[in-house]
Each structure stands twice: as C-alpha cells, then as structure tokens.
C-alpha cells in the first residue's frame, strides 16, 4: 500500500514537469513577450537610453538575459521560472499591473466554493436518480431517465445560462433572481445569516448551470455501477437467504457501487473548472474563469499561464486523491 502511494506520487513528478514546461513554452515562444507591462513599470520613458534600460530590465525579470545582459539558455530559463514560482513570484499581470499571485488568491476561492457546492448538489441528486433508474431497469422510468440524461448532457451551458438570465433575471420577463455577482453590492449592514441567504439567492442560477451536466454524467455512472453489481453472485445469495428488496438495494448493491463514484469525482471537478469560464462570464462572477477570460482579451499571458498551471495542479491533485481513495476503499484490489 505504502509502495503504491510512493509510486503514485513519483509518477506525478514527470507529469507536473511536462505540464509546467508546456505552459512555459507556449508563453515563452509567443510573440509579444517583452510587453511593457511585463516589468511592472507604468511610467513613460522618453529617452532612447531609458527605453533600452527598461527593455533590458524586463528581459532580466523574465530571465531572458542575466544581469550582465547575456542571453540565458532555454532550459536554464525554465529552471529559473520554476524557482520563481516555488518562491511565490508568479509574475506580473500586464493588464492589472498587480502580481498574478494576488489576483489568483482573490479569485480562486470564489470559483472553488461554487464548484464544491455544485459537486455536493450533483452527488445528492444524481445518486438517488441513478439508483432508481437501475432498480427500474427497462421500465418507462429508466427509459425516460436515459433520454433525460443524454439530453442534459448535450445541453450547451451557454444556452441554459442565457435563457435563465434572460427569462428569470430580467425586468422584461420575470425579475426573480439577481443578474450579476455573488452578493449584493452593499453587505455591510447584513447579519451573517442574511449574508448567507443573499449568497444563496445570488448563486442559485449559476449553480443550475454547473449542476445539470454533472448530474447527467454522474447519474449514468451510478446506474451503470448498480447494474454491474446486480449481476454478481452475492446478490443472488443475499436474495436466496431472504434479504428484503430495500435492504438488498441499499445495504448490499449500493455500497458496492460506491467505488466507481469515487473515481468519477476527479473527472467532475476539472470539468466544472473549465465550465466556470462560461458560467462566470454569463453571470458576471469575478472568479478564475472570468480572470482567464479577461486575460485572453488583454493578451495577458502571465495570468493565463498561471491560471492554467493552478487549474492543472488542481486537476492532478484531484486525480491523485481519487486514486488514493480508491486504494483505501477497495481492499480487493492489490497493489504491489
């Protein structure tokens, strides 16, 4: 077991290395690297000498040249870049003239909170749905459920988001929900519970956008896992010894179907992170997705690079946690 964990961790190192090098290379070889904003200076410089100085300073900060102005080799550049990140210097944003780390630290909690809430809701509604479909296999409920999940899986979130916002948060039609943000502009007078209620009220529509796709994927998995277990011999044994239908489904089959659900949880989170670009744009939520979106328009490569890196690391961690959970949860699988 310990061996497995160590091996799994060791395998993560090359992945991390390749991913970071990829992000480094895309931005390093992109045109327009020595952007005036890259050095974090905003003052205007008039003399040619001063301009040259500034360019050199930018190149120095990006580790393109060393402090004497000699060019640095690409592998060395990469190494210095990695060292900077390890030290917490994520670079400067071109657009905001702020450290990227500050921006990400502001935005990441918003996105992660929303995604975690969405994941919990997905599990709460998908598990019973999938179980019911599996129990009712082949009957009308199962067929309708199969069609529904496929339809939900195919629904584009841009459409769902636009329609929800257009019809339910719009003075033209029904002005039931707020159209933007995750809380009211002025929250200073609110008590804690008022604030919480305000938050829930604001995130209701974005959550719908997050939830329906994941629900489709997950409930389908639950159904498949349940059906898989229903074919097993132990189910027949349990039935033969007189275990009731309800107990059999919940205590025997469902418990054994939990394993694949752990596996899929890793797939849900990165998917939601990618989806957050669109949902946050529709509902004007200032999260990671919105940051990436603004950065794309502003050609703000350092921000995009770091958003990609943080997203990638979250994805890898989710993968790792899943594998470890799987190893812990299933004693039947042996890992030498």
């Amino acid at each position: 077991m310990l061996n497995y964990i160590i091996r799994r961790l060791l395998l993560m190192i090359p992945t991390l290395f390749i991913m970071s090098f990829m992000l480094f290379a895309i931005v390093r070889f992109a045109p327009g690297l020595a952007h005036p904003g890259a050095g974090g200076t905003t003052g205007k410089l008039n003399s040619r000498q001063a301009q040259k100085e500034q360019e050199l300073e930018i190149k120095r900060r990006l580790h393109l040249v060393d402090r004497f102005g000699h060019p640095i080799s690409v592998p060395m550049q990469y190494w210095l870049w990695v060292r900077d990140i390890a030290e917490g210097h994520f670079g400067m944003s071109y657009q905001y003239d702020e450290p990227v780390l500050t921006l990400i630290a502001q935005r990441l909690p918003v996105t992660i909170t929303l995604n975690l809430i969405a994941t919990v809701i997905i599990y709460i509604i998908a598990v019973p749905g999938g179980m019911l479909a599996a129990v009712q296999r082949g009957r009308w409920f199962d067929r309708g459920f199969g069609f529904l999940t496929l339809a939900l899986y195919s629904l584009p979130s841009i459409w769902v988001g636009s329609m929800l916002l257009g019809f339910l948060a719009n003075p033209q039609f029904l002005d039931w929900f707020p159209a933007a943000g995750i809380h009211t502009t002025d929250t200073s007078h609110m008590t804690y519970f008022q604030y919480l209620g305000d938050y829930c009220y604001h995130i209701a529509l974005p959550l719908v956008c997050y939830v329906y796709g994941g629900f489709a994927v997950l409930s389908k998995q639950v159904r498949a896992a349940m059906l898989d277990n229903m074919r097993q011999d132990y189910v027949r044994t349990a039935r033969a010894k007189g275990v009731g239908n309800w107990t059999l489904t919940v205590r025997h089959i469902f418990r054994n179907s939990l394993l694949p659900l752990i596996t899929i949880s890793a797939g849900v989170l990165p998917g939601l992170l990618a989806g957050s670009v669109i949902v946050e744009q529709i509902f004007s939520i200032r999260g990671m997705g919105a940051l990436a979106y603004k950065a794309t328009f502003g050609h703000d490569l350092p921000v995009l690079q770091m958003v990609g890196l943080v997203g990638g690391i979250i994805g890898l961690l989710a993968d790792l946690i899943t594998d470890l959970c799987y190893a812990v949860a299933d004693p039947r699988v042996s890992y030498e």
Binding site: M19, I26, L150, I158, W159, A274, G275, T296, L301, G308
Partner: protein
C-alpha cells in the same frame, strides 16, 4: 442482443454465402448501431445539416440567381447572375470538396455488389486518390484565379423600384451579413412575416444567420476532429506498440494535457496565436487528441501480443506497415465512438468560444455568437435570437451523442457508461 460475431455457416450453406460479399466487423457494427430509430433520425439530421452547410449560399442569399436589369443610365438591358458571380472562394472550395466526398460515397455504393474483393479495394483506392488529386488541383486553381466579388447592389430594391425584372431569388432573401440600412423600423424586431425568426440588433435576418452558422459549426467540428484524429491515432499507435518507457513517459504527457481545464488551455492558445476560424480549428485539434490516443493505445496494447502481428513482423514487413496497415484497421473501431463524442465536444467548444467573443470574427455567423448577440440579457433580451441557435447546438450535439452511444453499445454491448 446484438450478435456481432457471424455464426459459422453449415457446409451446405457455404457456396451461397461465398458468392455474397462477406460481412466485415465494421459492417456488423454499423448495421447494429443504426438499427434504433433515434440513431436513424440523428444520422438524417446530420446529413441534412452537412448539406445545408455546403449549399447555404444557394439557400439564404440576398442576391438573386438571375435578374434582368432594365435599361437605364445609357446601359443596355442585361441578364445578370449575381448569386453565382458573388460566390466566394470559400464557397467554391467547400463545394468542390463536398462534391468529391459525394463522388466517393456514390462510387462505394455503386460497387457494393462487386464480388471480387481485391479488385474492389483497388478500384476504391484509385477513385479516392483520383478524387483527392482533383480536389486539391481545383482548390489551387480557385485560389489562383478566383477573386471574391463584392456586390453591394440592393436587388430587392431594384426590383421594387421597377429597374429590374425577372428576378429569381433564393428561398431566403438575406445572407448572414445583410441588413436593411434604410429601414430603422426593421431593427430588433420580433418574428413577423418576411422575417420568420425576427431580426437582430443590426437588422439582419435571424433565420438566415441561423442557417449560415451550420457551416461554421460543421467545418470547425470536421477539420478539428480530423487533426485530432491524425495526432491521436499516430501517437496512440506508436505508444501502444512500443509500451515500456515510451508508454510511461507518453502517458504522463497525455495526463499533463488532460489535467489543464480544456477551455483554459484553449484560451491560452487563442491569446497566443490569435483568433480566426482556421486557428480555432487547429487549436481544437491540437488540444483534443488525448481521447483518441488513449483509445488507440489500449487497442494496440491488446493487439501487439496477437499472432498475426508477430507473423507480419517475422515476414520482414517494415514497422509502419505493420502498425498502420495491419494493426490499425483492427484497432480503429473504438475511435469511431470517440470521434462521435469528439465532434459533439468540438461543436460545443466552438460555440462557447464564439459566445465568449474569441471565436469566429463578426460578421460571420456562428450559433455561439448569435447567443452572445441575443443581448446583454440583463438589459435587452432578444429571445427570438437566443432560442434558435441554442436549439441548433443542442440538437447537433445530441445527434452526435446518440450516434456515439449507439456505436459504443454495438461495439461493447455490456458497457453501460455514458
């Protein structure tokens, strides 16, 4: 349920069966996948959509097929063909390639009863190579000799004012970028006679734009998936065959690409390499190949230990031939499933990018862009412009997903995952 392995015929039946063309694994898979009615509808819908994407200049265009311009300003009365004259290079190239595909499919269908398999295969290859050469040659010729004609004449008004007659218009009298500049009252209107789906904020016909968008969606999906397929199949094949350290490192690479959230990876590429439809196609291809690589790798890991591969190697065939002529045809079937879901994903992502404003450039119509233009929903929400494109994306993606699921069920009747 779906018996894919052909049962062994008895001795007495053999002569009759041998005279028929033997059914391959592919034939069986396709036959059992297409059986459900939902799949039939999906295939029909997608064929119709492809036809629409190719023929759209003849369906929604503001220029008439033909018109006689009356004599005025010392000009003779003259019969013009404005629609054909103003076909762009892109229109013609799309027509050429679509014609080539139709030709190949027709040829396949016409020779389906041929009993001599070897000859049939030879002829098939010959036709496909010939067609590809013809298409490339024609594309080059179009690229050199054809110039896009900008024709801003308002033929509808000419006809209305009596300066032209005998006009035959396309079924829909608007193109994707035609507005009614002198009619303020026709901007931002709900559905009405003349504009069955209403007009958008610039007075353009929503129905025409909706139909024109099919071209962007289908071409982006098609080209990007071909790029992804080529990269994925090649990498997966090489990786699965060699395994060992190559496999270990390569799978880390695949994991690295998959770990970064798709849309953010694409945004990085868009910010770096700019935004136009070609770039979007390439970017979607370059970021979307990991699924194919995984599938092909798994198949090749299974195939490499089989006897026929060892025999082919022992016979001294070059490695690429063993990989791509012997192993690939046996390992490609699961890729069909992946391609189907991949196409759906590409359509979704393209519309998402256009929705965000980093996709195709205006005034080119795309479903995502129309959704975006349907309004900053908090102020003006043009529901008539939002419902059509959303429904179109939904139906297209759903059709591909239905087909993908049916293919998967046909290949692996026991798997139940989405």
């Amino acid at each position: 349920m779906n018996s894919l392995e052909p049962s062994l015929p008895s001795e007495t039946m053999m002569p009759r069966l041998l005279s028929q063309r033997p059914r391959s694994y592919w034939d069986n898979v396709l036959a059992s996948a297409v059986r459900p009615w939902a799949v039939k509808i999906s295939v029909a819908y997608l064929v119709a959509l492809s036809l629409l994407a190719v023929l759209i200049p003849f369906i929604a265009n503001s220029r008439p097929y033909t018109v006689v311009v009356s004599a005025h300003n010392s000009m003779q009365a003259k019969r013009l063909y404005p629609l054909f004259r103003s076909l762009t290079r892109l229109d013609l190239i799309v027509l050429v390639w679509a014609g080539v595909v139709v030709w190949c499919v027709l040829h396949q269908w016409l020779t389906r009863k041929e009993s001599d398999l070897v000859r049939r295969r030879q002829r098939r290859w010959r036709v496909m190579i010939l067609a590809a050469f013809a298409a490339i040659a024609l594309t080059t010729l179009i690229g050199i000799f054809r110039h896009n004609v900008l024709d801003v004449t308002n033929y509808t008004r000419l006809v209305a004012e009596g300066k032209a007659h005998g006009a035959i218009f396309a079924p829909i009298k608007w193109g994707y970028a035609d507005m009614e500049p002198l009619r303020r009252d026709l901007i931002n209107k709900m559905p009405m006679p003349g504009h069955p789906l209403g007009t958008d904020g610039q007075g353009r016909d929503v129905l025409a734009r909706l139909l024109w968008s099919a071209r962007v969606a289908m071409s982006v999906g098609f080209v990007s998936q071909i790029i992804a397929l080529v990269i994925g199949v090649f990498c997966g094949a090489v990786d699965g065959y060699f395994s060992g350290i190559v496999d270990l490192l390569f799978m880390r690479f695949v994991e690295a690409v998959e770990a970064i959230p798709t849309l953010i990876l694409i945004l990085i590429f868009v910010a770096t390499f700019g935004r136009n439809i070609m770039a979007i196609m390439v970017i979607l291809g370059v970021t979307g190949w990991t699924g194919y690589a995984r599938f092909v790798r798994a198949e090749f890991l299974r195939l490499r230990s089989l006897d026929y591969v060892a025999a082919a190697r022992a016979a001294g065939l070059p490695l690429w031939r063993v990989l791509f002529r012997y192993m690939l045809p046996n390992g490609i079937t699961p890729v069909l499933v992946s391609a189907s879901f991949g196409f759906a994903g590409a359509v979704t992502i393209e519309s998402g990018l256009s929705f965000l404003g980093v996709g195709v450039r205006p005034p080119t119509a795309s479903w995502g862009q129309m959704l975006n233009e349907a309004g900053n929903p908090a102020t003006v929400f043009r529901w008539w412009e939002a419902i059509g494109p959303g429904l179109a994306i939904f139906l297209t993606v759903m059709a591909f997903n239905v087909i993908g699921q049916a293919l998967r069920d046909a290949i692996d009747p026991h798997g139940e995952a989405l």
